[in-house]
Amino acid sequence: MTEIYAAICIAILVVMAIALVRASYAPTVYDRILGVNMFGTKTVLFIAVTGYLMGRPEFLDIAIVYALINFIGMVAVLRFFEYTAPVE
């Protein structure tokens, strides 16, 4: 089972890397926000799978925190973005 976990970890890392590239080079600023959001949700899944890979299920607390922080960060971005006009 640990090999499956390891393979899943690597695959989620690949997805996160692709989302990171999208957040770095994006045509519009909303694409960056999209990339960060995807990075955040994949991080939650990565932490959960890594916890089971290393046999330490206490990591699930951190996964919960990340899910919360991802959401609150997104809401903060959208809120402050509506104040400043987009500069392209």
């Binding site: 694409d31 899944l45 899910a67």
Partner: protein
């Protein structure tokens, strides 16, 4: 227990497959609103499958409750965040691909008149 392992592995691999397809979709799709589709839909299904695969590995204890909590939270907040993002983009004036093409055609028609 071997059957549980096999089912877990299938769910995990399916979840990762959807995640990868969502990441590819972030680059392949032509317009921002279609990219939001790719990212948010595949995020939700990947979360369900991966956490479902992990749920089968736990015995019925606190970790099961935490995994279910993570799943419920992701189900509620991830589509909401995508919706808020798309609504913000629309308010900010971003046009869909069809509307951009319409504007170009209108301008060309005005120029040719």
């Amino acid at each position: 227990m071997f059957v549980l392992d096999i089912i877990s592995s299938i769910l995990l691999i399916a979840g990762v497959f959807f995640g990868l397809s969502g990441a590819v979709g972030l680059f392949k799709f032509p317009d921002f609103f279609t990219r939001v589709h790719a990212a948010s839909i595949t995020d939700s299904i990947a979360a369900i499958l991966i956490i479902g695969g992990l749920l089968l590995q736990t015995s019925f204890d606190l970790n099961t409750a935490k995994l279910l909590f993570i799943l419920a939270f992701l189900m509620i907040t991830s589509p909401t965040a995508s919706h808020a993002l798309a609504k913000s983009a629309r308010h900010g004036g971003l046009l869909t691909l069809a509307e951009v093409k319409e504007e170009k055609e209108e301008k060309q028609q005005e120029q040719s008149h």
